[in-house]
């Protein structure tokens, strides 16, 4: 932004705590240490935060290097209000359990839809190539 208004650059986000959403749906929170021209990210002290409903759990991950193309969005974490989330933190195991359950539910739904389509004589669309969440 400084050197050319009308643009945005990750340069300004360096050494800041960011929340990064990846294409596979993961949410990472870490300090951005380094970038390159492809927006590959080096995240420091990263945690992966899993959200299920109103609950979340953190898994400390350490240092992440994220390939730029897999980033959906990222944003700066508001340090001051970080603690005031309306969400409830739960232990990791619990959240993983909840995530698994959610996944099961979602898959059941998918199966149902598929079956419904086939019943009506249509081909269910397969997203083989786009495994991404987004």
């Amino acid at each position: 932004m400084n050197y050319l208004p009308g643009t945005a650059s990750l340069i300004e986000e360096i050494d800041k705590k960011l929340l990064v959403v990846l294409r596979d749906g993961r949410t990472l929170i870490g300090i951005l240490r380094s970038i390159d021209q492809f927006a590959n990210l080096v995240l420091h002290r990263t945690i992966e935060r899993i959200h299920v409903g109103k609950k979340y759990g953190d898994i400390p991950r350490g240092i992440f290097i994220v390939r730029g193309e897999n980033v959906v969005l990222l944003g700066e974490v508001d340090i001051e209000n970080e603690g005031k989330l309306p969400l409830e933190e739960v232990p990791i195991d619990d959240i993983l359990e909840m995530q698994r359950e959610e996944q099961i539910v979602r898959q059941a739904e998918e199966e149902r839809k598929k079956k419904a389509l086939i019943d009506r004589g249509m081909q269910p669309t397969t997203n083989e190539y786009t495994d991404d969440m987004y």
Partner: protein, 860 residues
């Protein structure tokens, strides 16, 4: 005779290469097939060799196949230096405008590949750069420079663009050294051609150092600046550790780099600066500018001072002995810096600004390419003098005062934790934000800086002063126990990305931002800028953004890029770059007329096909229109100066061509039916509407005439409010400028249209908004003409015809019930006068009532 120059050993390899010696001996190498008509020049190579042998001492001839080539090569070089230079410079035939992507970067040598030398080739002195620089074709194939900011890169890292240029001398020497090292060390490198550049990445060995030393010693006359440098260094004497620790290539180069810091003015100052900043953890003997190979900003002092002096001054101020000898290697030991890649150290030498660059010992082989690099492509942003963390030798636009200012500020800092946090402190300690660590303030500063009139747009960006808005205490929340903090609350891991890295990325990003057509590529921003400018300037005509103009101009100056051609090379060497990708397939652009002709007749009904064809035709017309409008915008965006004429002319020509094309297209050779087909389609109408203002007088009259001729049809089609009325405005404008003859013509056109029903055209027209508007406008125009020109000038026949028309009009108006008269889009009160002029009182009275519709302003 390059082969000779590179050493007789080479010729023996060439022998093996060719594998076709008919007879043993050197002579065979020069077979015409490969190397052409050397004999034609009557050059007696044998004689020459003997001469050289004499010069260099006997015995070399018979050694020719055995020695490493080092000794002979070097000496032959010395004696042949001029010839070499000449022959190298002849390798490149022609200097064309060049690929802009290439031109921005600086050349590197590509001596690894063998090229035939043709002495008759056209010579231009600066061809050397294009031949041996990063723009040279083989180097473009080497993507290594893109890998890392610290490797050689064509983007012109901020560090090596300031070597004052007795450059091509440097180049020659550097090239040759490189070539020698390549040849003598590793012959197969030369086969790699473009990738021989990879060789320098492998660190040099002892002989290289010697070579360079000797070459340095041998050639004082060439480089005055370097000469002085060397003298200095000779005096101060390279630390023996540096010289001897050859095995530690990185370190040595580092050392040498450290050794000769400021032969520049300001070193007294810098030395003065240095003492007050004793740095814990660094041995006092260490040149303070170096920590772990990074020049921390605090010690950006010396380098900053260096930077602050113009290059030209440097050679003259050699008086200051170098006090920073010390043990250069120590700076790297015992630093807490995590994982400093060693190669970074070695490349930092190259960031030296001035004459020092080519004369670094071990760094030279690496430095060769860089030494020839020019300023970074978008040099301006990086030419700001701010010495960032780790790269104090940023590009050398000189602003001494901020430098010194910052220097002073730094020296006053008594921060013990220097290593990592230097960057943070530094960045915060801009003159603007002295010692303020804040959170939300940054945002203000941010925006403030954004509007800061910093000497021209992006030229002096303060990008490295990015907001540092993390409240450090809040950091503990998320990872307790993982952070080590010092008392100030700053993160020890901050600043992993050096200033130089950031600059590199920003450079790339800026490069990506450049565009030929900002209105297309970056429309919203462009429009916003224009609007902002307009707001600032008030209503000042077109809000022309000067920044917009410049890139547009810059692009316009490029002729069609012709790829570099090499004379005397085998085959046609091709190079490719961003602007000039390899052509793999020859595709011809399909002409517009071919489109839409390929529809299969079986599937589509005739009617459908016709309508589709019609739509396609309208599309074509629309495309022409859009092109014209784009051209107009471009013309308007041109600056109003002398250059305007130059640039505007081709654009204007193009525009008029297109306008003619458009007109012909619309006119359809006067074929009313075809025109009506267009008019039937809404898009066709809008096309006409937009086109009318662009056409010239004659053309627009033609179109309006067509409209009038088909008025009834138009009106009929307008049942569903299909925007025929849109046509009115441009038509009205046209009519307003017409003379009586034309107006009469229009009137006649209207009247002469065949009317399917018994009602007269005028009557029909009156009942339609569009029609009545047209009539109204016509009458108004008539009045204007009558009132402005004396009766003498008006042609009497025309007057008669016009009078007739008006009478007809009046009579119809009188007979039609006033309800059915559609109110025109524009009413003109002077119609009354006009009618009064031309009609007699009786008729007038009859008509008067109904005329209200035409005369009273619309109440809508």
């Amino acid at each position: 005779m390059i082969i000779k120059a590179l050493g007789p050993r080479v010729s023996s390899y060439a022998n093996e290469l060719l594998e076709a010696p008919e007879e043993e001996g050197d002579f065979d190498i020069l077979n015409d097939e490969t190397f052409g008509d050397i004999d034609q020049e009557d050059y007696d190579w044998e004689q020459q060799t003997e001469k050289f042998a004499e010069v260099l001492g006997t015995g070399h001839k018979h050694e020719s196949h055995n020695d490493s080539g080092f000794n002979t090569a070097e000496k032959t070089y010395r004696s042949q230096e001029e010839y070499m230079e000449h022959s190298i410079s002849q390798l490149m035939v022609d200097e064309d405008d060049g690929d802009p992507a290439i031109l921005r970067s600086r050349p590197i040598p590509r001596v690894g590949a063998r090229v035939k030398v043709k002495p008759q080739a056209i010579l231009k002195p600066h061809d050397l750069d294009s031949l041996f620089g990063p723009s040279s074709p083989p180097s473009l194939l080497d993507a290594e420079h893109l890998i890392s900011p610290t490797s050689k890169n064509i983007w012109g890292s901020p560090h090596q663009n300031q070597a004052p240029q007795p450059t091509h001398f440097d180049n020659i020497q550097a090239i040759f050294d490189f070539a020698k090292s390549a040849n003598s060390s590793d012959h197969h490198l030369s086969h790699h051609g473009p990738h021989s550049r990879a060789a320098p990445m492998v660190l040099p060995k002892a002989q290289t150092l010697e070579e360079i030393e000797s070459s340095m010693l041998q050639k004082p006359r060439v480089l005055t600046a370097e000469e002085l440098e060397r003298q200095l260094r000779g005096e101060s004497s390279l630390p023996p550790s540096a010289l001897s620790s050859v095995q530690n290539g990185h370190r040595v180069s580092m050392a040498q780099y450290n050794v000769p810091p400021p032969p520049v003015i300001g070193s007294p100052q810098s030395r003065a600066m240095v003492p007050p900043n004793p740095m814990p953890g660094v041995s006092p003997g260490v040149p303070h500018g170096v920590v772990n190979g990074h020049r921390s900003p605090v010690f950006g002092g010396p380098s900053a001072m260096r930077m602050s002096m113009p290059r030209g001054i440097a050679p003259g101020t050699q008086s200051v002995p170098i006090s920073m000898g010390g043990s250069p290697g120590k700076g790297m030991i015992g630093s807490p810096m995590v994982g400093t890649p060693p190669y970074r150290n070695s490349s930092t030498p190259l960031s030296r600004q001035s004459p020092v660059t080519p004369s670094h010992g071990l760094s030279q082989p690496i430095g060769i390419p860089l030494a020839m690099r020019g300023p970074p492509p978008v040099g301006s942003p990086f030419s700001s003098p701010q010495a960032g963390f780790g790269s104090p030798q940023g590009p050398g636009v000189i602003h001494p005062s901020p430098q010194q200012h910052r220097m002073v500020f730094h020296s006053s800092l008594n921060d013990t934790n220097m290593n990592r946090n230097n960057s943070n402190k530094y960045q915060q300690s801009s003159p603007h934000m002295k010692g303020q660590y804040f959170n939300n303030n940054n945002k203000e500063k941010f925006t403030g800086r954004g509007d800061h009139p910093s000497g021209g747009g992006h030229r002096e960006h303060r990008y490295y002063r990015y907001p540092y808005n993390q409240k450090h205490e809040a950091r503990t929340e998320h990872s307790p126990g993982l952070q080590k903090r010092d008392s100030k609350g700053s993160d020890p891991y901050d600043g992993l990305m050096t200033q130089r890295d950031k600059e590199w990325i920003i450079k790339i990003q800026l490069l990506q931002l450049q565009t030929d057509n900002p209105l297309v590529d970056d429309f919203y921003y462009t429009a916003w800028c224009l609007r902002k400018k307009a707001r600032e300037q008030g209503v000042d005509g077109e809000g022309r953004d000067p920044r917009l103009v410049i890139p547009a101009l810059a692009r316009m100056e490029h002729k069609a890029y012709k790829p570099a051609q090499f004379e005397g090379s085998l085959g046609r060497l091709t190079t490719s770059s961003v602007h000039n990708p390899r052509q793999i397939i020859d595709l011809l652009a399909k002409s517009m007329s071919e489109q839409g002709g390929g529809k299969s007749k079986s599937n589509v009904g005739k009617e459908l096909r016709k309508s589709r064809q019609l739509l396609m035709d309208i599309e074509k017309g629309y495309n022409i229109l859009l092109i014209i409008e784009d051209l107009e915008t471009k013309i308007l965006a041109l600056p109003e100066d002398t250059a305007y004429v130059f640039y505007a002319k081709p654009l204007l020509e193009e525009r008029s061509n297109y306008v003619d094309l458009l007109f012909h297209y619309l006119l359809c050779d006067g074929n009313s039916a075809a025109f009506m087909q267009y008019m039937n389609v809404r898009k066709g109408r809008s096309l006409t509407r937009r086109a009318l203002p662009l056409l010239d007088k004659v053309q627009s009259v033609g179109i309006v005439s067509l409209v009038c001729k088909n008025l009834q049809q138009l009106m009929r089609k307008d049942q569903g409010d299909e925007h025929v009325e849109e046509l009115f405005e441009p038509c009205a404008k046209v009519i307003e400028t017409c003379n009586l003859a034309t107006v009469v013509m229009f009137a006649e056109d209207i009247q002469q249209e065949e009317s399917p029903s018994t009602t007269k055209p005028i009557a029909l027209a009156l009942q339609n908004k569009f029609g009545s508007s047209i009539l109204c406008t016509l009458l108004h125009r008539g009045e204007k003409i009558y009132s402005s020109t004396s009766p003498v000038d008006l042609d009497s026949s025309l007057q008669n015809e016009w009078c007739e028309f008006v009478h007809d009009f009046a009579s119809i108006v009188a007979t039609i019930p006033s309800d059915s008269i559609a109110s025109p889009l524009q009413t003109h009160p002077d119609i009354m006068e006009h009618l009064g002029r031309l009609l007699n009182k009786r008729l007038l009275a009859v008509v008067e009532d109904n005329l209200d519709v035409f005369i009273q302003p619309r109440q809508s």
